[in-house]
Amino acid sequence: MFAYGGKILRVNLTTGKVSTEPLSEKLAKDYIGGIGLGIKLLMDNSKPGTDPFDPDNPIIYLTGPLTGTLGPTGGNSYAVVSKSPATGGVANAEAHGFFGPDLKRAGYDAVIITGKAPKLSYLWIDDDKVEIRNAEHLQHKTVNETDHMIREELDDFYIRVSAIGEAGERLCRFAAIINDEFRAIGRAGMGAIMGSKNLKAVAARGTHDVNVADMDGFREFIKMIYERMKGPATKKYKTLGTPENVLVLNSLYALATRNFTNSQFEGAQKVSGEWLNEHYVKKIVGCATCGMRCDHIAVVPEGPYKGATSRLEFECLWSMGPLCGIDRLDAIIEAMRITNEYGMDGISTGVVVAFAMDCYEHGTITKEQTDGIDLSFGNAEALIAIIHKIGKREGWLGNALAEGSARAAEIIGGDAPKYACHIKGLELPGYDLRTLKTAALGFSVSFRGACHLRNGAYSPDVKGKVNRFKIEKGRGKMIVPDGHIYNVIDSLIVCKFSRGTYYDGLKDLANYYTLATGIPMTAEELDKDGERIENLARLFNIREGKGTREYDTLPWKIKNAPVPEDGPAKGAVVSDEEFQVGLDDYYEARGWTMEGVPTVEKLNELGLGEYASIVKGGKA
């Protein structure tokens, strides 16, 4: 097999047993790699109802067919799939940087990790040699310290490490896994799965060749993509970066502020991409084998957080900035830095803090319960103080918030569930769903919970292709094709920032796949793969009791707290009526029942007939 490693590695941390098996060409073609292959392996290697923190819940590292090649962004990636401790459904995340290629060169398309190590350990994958090593000396070390210490003790600077911080060890339900300082397997809490397995890190060194089927054709193809990356399709990422969104969304009344109370932020200018780049960005760097540059490395030049350095993207800037009512970039940079050090998802961290601030403002949390922290909106010092508490699970509130907003709301009680902005247990990303209603629908049906990266449904809203203040019939159907493309993107594991460089969409990606692997692939087949992956993920969620219509919901505030700003958005909420219209339309377009369950015919059409027992009778 070309481009693929051709091997699946199994590691049982309880017994220490390690084994490998070949990857079949059928699995490769039907599930591509990355999250597609990951969701398939999760389904087939877990028992229904397994608690996410049970040793039997597998955590699966994956590479993609392009990983390890010079293919821009596809060359530098990996993914992780498990059952999420936040949602109880599929957890998937992808990260770029430098780690993935080493795992691939070591020879692996997937690493299925089960069991629980008797003491804190890390997995050392050195080509064919796989070892579970003691990590007790790494307890509570930051992600970066862990990275450095492992490379030092294994005595090779070029070893790549994917690790958790203190938050993962303490089972924070939005803990991340981080590689190469600030590249994160961010969402859905997989850092906590690592923690539950006493697995501090995976270190990899791969020295084998990665060969493609048609080197000449592949070279020409990627040269073309590298050229396109110099052009307009990626300009945003290379110039202001994603923080450009701040002023764009603000002008659209879509910059959710103070925990989805307001839809515009009076301090937007001071946390804008323009301001960030002018005053804080020192250098724009990037990942291995990429022709774009998106890592805006921000350094605080003066004041209490002088020297704080972090990469900063829109989502986390938003969640720790406008959503908390904070207009101080120096504090946001410091907050991002420590969030990475504890190893937490920056989106969820900010949204959880904003939730706590909303509770505090409404008197649902008292100052005694915050250990004296004034959690008012806009208090930058409080943001940083509470992140430290969450990372360490310190105090009653820090401990509660580390459970994520859904569970924390139950612990806090009273009106708190009203202020918790999550879908299926995963915190909302940075789009005000009251004024971007295609996004509202798209986020609600995403299989990993609130997510802007499962179907890109904010795009027709932001680009003005639809009436974004209303969900109409046809809106569900509209978001289906992009859902497939996004699944393909995450299975090939190319970066979503590169999506504009594939001018011919799936046709380009199918060509890319075939040049690398030698396996014939058409755009239609790739689309089918995307649909298969979507349905399989849905099936997994149904099997776990989390996949039917009643779980495709929106947060209370999106449905009940009208936008207060004068202007076109005034009074906007998502009404139940329009939302149900959207769901009906989406299920119909997918060939699912009105319960949101794939039909047996649909499963047979996609080659998923073996899972029909999960949907028999149309209900879970």
């Binding site: 390890g68 090649t69 010079l70 060359g75 430098f98 290629p101 060169r105 600077f157 070029y158 300082e181 600030f182 020295t207 084998h208 060749d209 990665v210 060969n211 493609v212 080197m215 070279r219 590298y226 990356m229 110099k230 020192k282 250098k283 724009i284 760097v285 990037g286 990942c287 291995a288 084998t289 990429c290 022709g291 540059r293 890592d295 490395i297 350094v299 350095t309 990469r311």
Partner: protein, 170 residues
């Protein structure tokens, strides 16, 4: 006959290099027909997000690697300055690697002999790492050209600073 000062080598600009390793993959693709940075003749180093540099052979004058070789397996080409390794004579003792102060001499992971940058001399358009570098951080230059470049930018900065100071004092 090329004069020694006209020898070109691949140089990386620390201001521009971001440590992305595209050069490593381009090198192994060109010289080894595979993707494998451990077979690359240029290696990128990221000490931190702001500190990046790619390093390869600088075709030194009176090269330490050649002097260190106990088997006379290494020679320097007169015209280009390229260090060639006689793979029959080399026994992988790594004295040349100890001698190179830049880590530009390396051990080939499969052949177990020393290897280093050959300036892609078989390629019509020169070193392929330079062609592929997305940041234009790599250049194929002589020492003279490098010195000129540094001189020009240093002087330009001095004038710029002087101008700014003058403007501030006004």
């Amino acid at each position: 006959m090329v004069r020694a000062q006209d020898r070109k080598f691949v140089s990386s600009d620390p201001e521009k290099c971001i440590g992305c390793c595209v050069c490593e993959y381009a090198c192994s693709m060109t010289n080894e027909n595979t993707f494998n940075p451990t077979k690359s003749r240029i290696r990128a180093l990221r000490l931190g997000p702001l500190n990046n540099l790619a390093v390869t052979c600088r075709h030194c004058e009176d090269p330490a690697c050649v002097a260190a070789c106990p088997r006379e397996a290494l020679t320097q080409e007169e015209d280009t300055g390229i260090i060639t390794v006689d793979e029959e004579a080399c026994d992988g003792c790594a004295w040349c690697i100890s001698a190179c102060p830049f880590g530009a001499m390396m051990m080939h992971p499969e052949k177990k002999v020393a290897f280093t940058c050959n300036s892609c001399k078989d390629q019509e358009d020169g070193p392929q790492c330079v062609k592929w570098c997305p940041e234009e951080a790599l250049t194929f230059v002589t020492a003279q050209q490098l010195a000129q470049k540094s001189r020009i930018s240093a002087v330009r900065n001095l004038f710029q600073e002087a101008k700014e100071k003058k403007a501030e004092s006004k």
